[in-house]
């Protein structure tokens, strides 16, 4: 049993604040926040891989499985409990990830990126072909309840946000510990120098395998939450550009801290929605420029701004 660290207290407080904000903030903001939190969950997985020096262009694979688990579970198995649906997503994802992991842990750099991309595009292809599931149009998600409580008109958004916040908090607390653990550090060690890791007697594949499977599970949770919130699933979730978006957010935030993905996700979604509104014809251009500036001036992501402040104070 360890005492709570400062970060953990901060995380809990932030989570509570975010959850409570649903009481005062306008509905659209609650909804957007939920999507941001969901995206951040996926991004945390991407960040885990990045810390091990791997970039996945196929995290959409698990994002999509999570989403479809919710959709299918509700539609064909009559499951309506949100947590059960999320759980189903995780089970399906972990099963697949444990299989793919056996192969993918042998690959690095661009080959890892392209293989992950290939697998998620194959799922995309299969879904597009499944006419029963509405092909590219996808299908709607049934109304869900949570532990017997059926959110009524108006406070679905709030309930959704709370659900997302709680799950995300759990994930964040875990990751915070994980990053400081032997396994978490081993991932960074692999990124830095595989030869030495091998000579230390650490099995690289085992480390990467565990890391990959956990990252996949996070992706699935994010997908499930998105599906529950947006109320619709479709194959786009597995398309490579979506995976690219997650990498984008991960770089935006940086891999320095477990809070970075959340900050980045909020900034990304706000920037995008206002860019889309104010410059409907050139919002991609704006995203591109932002991304360039980040890489150019903040190679370690937005989070490095905060760490600098700390150093300044210290």
């Amino acid at each position: 049993m360890m005492r709570l660290q400062k970060t953990e207290i901060l995380l809990v407080v932030t989570a509570l604040a975010l959850g409570l904000s649903s009481l005062i903030s306008p509905d659209w903001l609650v909804f957007t926040s939920t999507l941001a939190v969901a995206a951040a969950l996926v991004v945390m997985g991407v960040v885990m891989l990045m810390r091990a020096g791997l970039i996945s262009f196929g995290q959409g694979l698990f994002y999509c499985i999570g989403g479809y688990a919710v959709g299918l579970g509700g539609r064909f198995l009559g499951v309506t409990d949100a947590l059960a649906l999320v759980g189903m997503g995780i089970v399906a994802t972990v099963a697949l990830a444990m299989l793919l992991g056996l192969l993918l842990t042998r690959y690095r750099e661009i080959f890892f990126a392209m293989l992950t991309l290939a697998f998620s595009m194959i799922l995309y292809g299969i879904l597009v072909k499944s006419h029963g599931l509405g092909s590219t149009d996808g299908f709607g998600v049934v109304d869900w309840s949570i532990l017997g409580y059926q959110p009524d008109q108006g406070d679905e958004s709030a309930t959704g946000l709370w659900l997302a916040v709680v799950l995300a908090l759990a994930a964040a607390l875990f990751l915070n510990r994980y990053f400081q653990s032997s396994l978490g550090l081993a991932c960074e060690a692999i990124r830095e120098n595989e030869v030495r890791v091998e000579y230390m007697g650490i099995s690289r594949r085992q480390v990467l395998y565990i890391n990959y499977v956990i990252a996949a599970a996070l992706g699935s949770i994010g997908g499930s939450l998105t599906a529950l919130t947006a109320g619709h699933v479709d194959p786009t979730m597995a398309y490579w550009t979506i995976s690219g978006e997650f990498v984008f957010i991960a770089l935006l935030g940086g891999t320095g801290h477990v809070a970075a993905p959340f900050i980045a996700a909020f900034i990304f979604i706000l920037v995008r929605t206002y860019a889309v509104e104010l410059f409907p014809n050139s919002w991609q251009l704006i995203l591109g420029v932002v991304l360039l500036l980040i890489i150019l001036f903040l190679p370690k992501g937005i989070w490095s701004l905060f760490t600098r402040k700390q150093r300044a104070q210290a």
Partner: protein, 299 residues
């Protein structure tokens, strides 16, 4: 029987198009270790440039086919070279020495930017430059007909391939480039101006992408987003063949092209992911692609 011939012919045609698209990508990667996502945009740039110029030429009463082709090639190459130069000098140069995958993201940003810039320049209405395509007529093989233009594309890609090969294997510049590919530090120590070589390589790679677009323009309708569609396909080809290898790109293109043709003629419903399936399979058995070499670490 007919089907088999069709598969071979179509496979070859598609493969040569794939090679055109992938060549620039693999050259740039081979020398600079940059996997250029913006390659798709360069393809689109070339397509827009030649489509609009040819359109303008015929609209203003021109009817000389060779002039049309000259415009097509000229505009594509020029705009590709210019764009490439600006990208390399303006942005990539600031990023050298960064992580390989980070460079990938940089080019992704460039892709986003170029997509919108092209929209601002050329608008969103489709461009058609079908005249050269129509003008070259068609050849009949029984039921099967092939357009002269498609055969020309095969020719073009063979020529481009040969030139590239000769350039890399037989010329002095090629030797220098290969020395950079083999060991950048050493060749720098030996006084090779790596930066200049990089600029040159990127400009050439970019123009290759633009040429691919320019050659494709008369076949398709040039609309926003065509660039994004070709990137992943091109990636799949070069990764399958082995990054940085011209031969690899050629073989990769052939494999993917034939596989795709076969699926379209026999089981069309697989077409959507045949390319990825091929890539995944190849990587499973040859983790560095068909012609890629693993790099050993110095300890």
């Amino acid at each position: 029987m007919l089907t088999i011939w069709a598969i071979l012919i179509d496979g070859l045609i598609y493969a040569s198009w794939l090679f055109l698209v992938a060549a620039g990508l693999t050259v740039i990667y081979g020398v600079m270790r940059i996997l250029n996502m913006a390659h798709g945009s360069l393809y689109a740039l070339g397509a827009y440039a030649s489509a609009s110029s040819i359109g303008w030429y015929y609209a203003s009463g021109g009817d000389q086919l060779w002039i049309a082709f000259a415009l097509l090639a000229g505009c594509a190459i020029v705009i590709g070279a210019i764009a490439g130069f600006i990208m390399e000098r303006g942005i990539l140069r600031l990023m050298y020495g960064r992580d390989e995958v980070l460079m990938l993201i940089v080019t992704f940003a460039l892709l986003l930017i170029l997509e919108d810039l092209m929209k601002l320049v050329w608008g969103t209405t489709p461009y058609f430059a079908y005249q050269p395509y129509a003008a070259l007529g068609r050849f009949n093989f029984g039921v099967l007909t092939v357009s002269g233009y498609q055969i020309m594309v095969v020719g073009v890609s063979v020529v481009v391939g040969t030139i590239l090969w000769f350039w890399l294997e037989r010329t002095r510049t090629g030797k220098i480039l290969r020395s950079i590919i083999h060991d950048r530090e050493v060749s720098e120590a030996m006084g090779v101006n790596v930066r200049r070589m990089f600029t040159m390589t990127f400009v050439i790679g970019a123009s290759l992408g633009a040429i691919a677009g320019g050659v494709t323009a008369p076949i398709i309708s040039v609309v926003p987003g065509i660039g994004v569609e070709v990137i992943v396909v091109a990636f799949a080809v070069v990764v399958t063949g082995g990054l940085g290898s011209i031969t690899g790109a050629a073989i990769g293109a052939l494999i993917v092209g034939l596989a795709r043709a076969a699926s379209i003629h026999t089981m069309p419903e697989l077409e959507l992911f045949i390319i990825y399936a091929v890539m995944a399979l190849v990587l499973i058995f040859r983790p560095n692609g068909l012609f890629g070499q693993a790099t050993a670490r110095k300890i």
